[in-house]
Amino acid sequence: MTESAPVRLGVDVGGTNTDAVVLRAHRIVGVAKARTSADVHSGIVAAVRIALDAARMRATDVAAVMIGTTQFTNAFVQAKALNRVGVIRLAYPASTAIPPFSDWPARLAGAVDGGARILPGGYEFDGRELNGFDAGAVRDVVSEFAGRGIRAVAISSAFAPLNRAMEDRAASLVRERLPDAHVSLSADFGRIGLLERENAAIMNAALADVASSVVAAYGTALGQIGLRCPLFISQNDGTVMSASEAARYPVLTFASGPTNSMRGAAMLAGVGEGIVVDIGGTTTDVGFLQHGFPRESSLSVDIGGVRTNFRMPDILSIGIGGGSRVLDGPDVRVGPDSVGSDIVTRALIFGGDTLTATDVAVAAGIADIGDRSRVRHLSAALIDAALHAIRGGVEEAIDRMKTESASVPAILVGGGRIIVEGDLRGVAPAIVPEHYAVANALGAAMGQAGGETDRCFDYERMSRDEVLAEARREATERAVESGAVAATVRITDVEEVPLAYLPGRTVRVRVRAVGDMKLEAAASRPEAAR
């Protein structure tokens, strides 16, 4: 059986390293780490080749490649190669005191703002139209955008999460005039909160060109290796989307890194509930696992200073990592400054001149890398104080993420994991799994297929049980449509929001379903198929 089980290849493209993991029947059969290259794709090629060699497999054995990437987040935050976005908000005369881009940092607004108009439209909380849709006004604005060379458009409307019809109508008018334009709709992203949801749509539109070129580059890299299987990209909820979907919805990859490392950690440790501590070079990310998935954040999340409210893992990030600088003095401090990926030249143990958290761990004898003789001069008091600061920071972060005071299992992963050893307060047990350094790529490889339904039901017309059954069925169908094996689909989230001030008993129900990806073993697939 094992021989014919589909082989998955997971790749994590990080700022410093590109990791690859080869999986057969949920078992790791090959791992690799390569430096992330400036062109990104040659780093992917290198990591994948090493991993396949380690697994003694050929490219044609692979049934699917899943890539997790921070490239879109980085491109946005650094304002690199972003599209200018024309924004149409359907809400006039509401919201006019706060036009689109009001809360953007000047640097990003300068790169992205391609003109924004607030036009009649949108809905009231009870489904009434806030204002009639004005097709003529939309056409005029689109013509103006076209005249100025705008090729990416974001559309938002008041209460789009309850009714997206006007956003859809506006989108079709944009496509009439600008058939090749990228169009992002707020209804596809966040939840209640017009400004944050609109921001997500604008970010997505701003990334349109970056997304299509990055996705194309991934295809080229895989082609060079001879991989002819489907390519999937990690989303931030533990599921994957096809390469063509990723080119359309790049913001859904934001924060997929922490999600992948948490899911990978869960699998490595065989634990579905507990804390994951992912220690990198500069930061430590702490998250909470529920049913093998990260808990979702209920608050708004800032990306590059722009506030959004789309689904994100609830992650607490602290400025302590393997490359954190250690400052000696009456009050020994660790981080938040870090040498980052330069640790390989700047840390004392590697012949550099900067005292880092990793140097302290080596001096204390809890890690054994580099040249230990170069940290022999460090005093026991300094070592103790620095380790105490690291442990204290990590323990406090763990405590903040727990939902109860009882001890919970914690899984320690990430390349910087070596700076923490032994038991941690509030944790039982502390687990350091094998392959802890490639949890992220493993999480990518384990990406699942998901589906969601999110709409309003009237509990006076249907019983609550009937409503929930219907919503579960819809979510399950959508998960299967996006590639899940029907038998493996399960409901991961049910949220009911009563709209208390409405007549009747209207409740907004959101249900999410996920299942294992349906993959065909390479052998049973026609060679030419993609």
Binding site: A91, P93, A94, S95, T96, A97, I98, P99, S102, D103, G122, E124, F125, R128, L130, N131, A158, F159, I192, G193, L194, L195, L299, D399, R400, M401, K402, T403, E404, S405, P498, L499, A500, Y501
Partner: protein
Amino acid sequence: MRRMFDPADVETLALGAGVLGTGGGGDPRVGALALRRELSVNGPPWLIDVDDVADSAFVVTVAMGGAPIVGLEKLLSDTFADVSVRRLERYLGRSVDAVVPLEIGGVNSLLPFMVGSRIKVPVIDGDGMGRAFPTLDKTTFSIFGLPASPLATSNEHGDGAIVECAANDRAEQVSRSILVDLGAACSSALFPMSGQDLKRTAVRRTVSLALSVGRAMRDARRAGRRPVDAIVEAVQACVPGTFAKPLFSGKVTDVERRITGGFNVGRGRLAGIEGFRGDAEFSFQNEYTRFAVDGRLTAVVPDLICLLDTATGDPVTCETLRYGQRVHVLGLSCAPALRSAKGLIACGPGAFGLPERYVPIEELNP
């Protein structure tokens, strides 16, 4: 005294009002964005002391009404800076001479400045609570017998109504049902009063207080000091005789909340940190209402209970408070008017369904 409101102070005011909003009042961010824009177009208004208003002046309060979730979708309409004030002026046949904030906390502490900027009238350095509360009866205006009616309310289309009721609780009830029909995010102009009424009822210098608190927090962060200590100094310097003291520092170990009658109601517990021992418990109804350490009451409404995140120094609202968060708890004495017999009926412990008798915070913490 009369000075120009400094546009650079918008965020400072929002921050300070967040603290004095004692966990309620909503997110002032939307209000701050709208105010910044208004000031850049129409210029800053004057800020004047209560006692500098002429007895014969015509003064109104302005406030947003409706459901918070609707405000998140419809934000603020540009027209809210004058539409309801103009409606009330037309109805009463008089021009407004100044606007006074209804409360300090959230968007309602910023909206009066938008109005002042747009219609070119001064904003009064004072308000009707000296903090935030959820309903109109809990204002000093109401406690001292001023009618909230006639009040004008308007939605973004300019559709609206004038409400006239003999009693303020009826005015609130009637206007709430109109608000729902108007789309549940409306601006209102209410408590039309004379300068003489204002002097008799308003809590003085609360805008200055919010600004000093906001400034002290900002400076403390820059200097690496605890904002909570800086707030204590700022409050005592700004309103001499005010009781201000950090009551506790703790980690949230439990929060339970439910929506009852449109209010965000609940309670929670803290375990002591940073030198504080024992367990504390608190209750809230939109704002924090009660705080006790090891079963002993240390603060209760109408005195102010403010929670600040220990890491960021930011005020922590009842809606966002969650397990594991570390907070400093700051207690402040409320405006004396709220401690009068009528004040305590309107906003003392009994008004929030709490069993305790009111004891001033300075007596609870000798």
